[in-house]
Amino acid sequence: MRFSWTKRFFELLIGGQEFRALIDKEEWGKAQAELDKRGFPHHLREFSPFFEQGVTPSPEQEASTGYPLVSEWLDFRDANDKARAVFVDFESDNPALTMWRQRQLSRLSGEVGFNVKEHYSPLFAFELNSGCSVQCPFCAFDALRLTKVGRHDELAFLWQGMLRVNHELFGDSAEKGCLYHATEPADSPDYFKFIEDYIAEYGVLPQTTTAAPLRSLVWTHRLIELRKNTPTNSDRFSLLSEDDLHRVHQTFTPDDLVHVKLLLQYEKDGDSHFVRAGRNFDIPENEADQVTIACVCGFLVNLPERTVRLVSPCRASSRYPKGYRVHAENSFDGLEEYKQILLDMIRLYMPVSLGVEDLLRFRKGLSLEFAEESSSIVSRFKRYDLGIGNKSKQSVLEMIKVGGTYKDICDHAEKTGMSFLAFAALVDQLFKAGFLEDLS
């Protein structure tokens, strides 16, 4: 696969300071020597559209003319985009869950400034251990130290049952999960046994992200082989230093890593890609590239602890420093209890409509803007147009901003001339768009 070499070239260009300096200084001979030293079967000039000034990704086909490596890379990337779009698509068999996720992800889009719905948001994350042995200094989840390792022989019955329950409750959307969160997959000696159960239930290989790809080469090669058979997603190696990058390049061939994204988690030319969350929550906002790494919108399950948390990603804040909200938490002993917890969380925290005693209030971070002919709700990154405004509607919005029960605000709306059915339609629209604080 020639594009595997293109991928390696990018990794070297972005993550290798010396190589990048040679490109910067246009020392082509030395740069070529670096490629030769690493066994590249291609000449530097074959990659030139990727690093020459003035060539931008937008006229891609133009850039690829006469550069087969570029064309092949763009085809590979497009194929991955299409596969990802299918993977990102989410429709649960449970409408309350689907609506809840839509509300949470709409909220998140307003908090982080990009359309989160285009990104993968798993429904489940399963922690197989308690804590993490790697302890990255920047860990956005501020993972606890490793204290307990879940063993497959002890947990298999429960685990397989949980997968069945999730499948039964949520249909195929239950497959959208991963077997790690604030944990390191390589800490689990039985990781692939758990994975095999997952494949047996859903027929898919979930994504794995590891910060220890060099700890056991047998383990890592097994992961790579599994992914080659099911390349519908990619795995990720989190690399903590440039030395790690070079060691990974020496250890694994470009073809080995074609379905592995390398996350270069170290400073590169003063560019640190800080995530302001967890252990890095104290860095100034203007130095942060991201404000959360959380992506799970649903259930965070810890197997050894037997806990379930209902979580959704958010902008990290003093209230939610790890970049995700915990809406509810409970523990279980057996399978029936686990199932009941999921059902209770849906019933209690995922309403599909609002009752008259429910409290209505805009969530934090939203403000109102009124003009003569419009009413808008404004978040940190977006302005949402509610259509032509009138005094009645604006007065109702003001009251929701202050907060009150549905009944009280509805009575107020009627006094200003809005029918209670029009009020219900307005509130329903605000609710579905994720503008209202969660009820519990």
């Binding site: 972005i14 000034q53 990704p57 991955n80 400034g113 030319d269 008259v356 977006k382 329903d428």
Partner: protein, 83 residues
């Protein structure tokens, strides 16, 4: 959506305090409201009570960037590498 049907339903509610309070107490449970309407001979569905069109939105500012190196910036190579 039948606008005429919705007007007829609203008029019925205006003249029937008991029915009005019953529907009002359903909040945004449009399924129950549609069922209530149907039982009284009105041809209305859930979608007749809700606003289904998505809100138009305007970007106010992009996510912070400001990195210095053109190919390491996520704008040049990153654009290619983001798959």
């Amino acid at each position: 959506m039948s606008k005429v049907e919705m007007i007829r339903f609203s008029e019925m509610l205006s003249g029937d305090e008991v029915a009005r309070n019953e529907v009002k107490n359903m909040g945004t449970d449009f399924k129950s409201i549609a069922t209530f309407a149907s039982q009284r001979g009105f041809s209305l569905s859930v979608s007749d009570f809700s606003i289904d069109e998505e809100l138009s939105e305007e970007e106010l500012r992009g996510v912070a960037g400001g990195r210095s190196n053109y190919y390491a910036s996520g704008e040049q190579v990153g654009g290619f590498l983001d798959y």
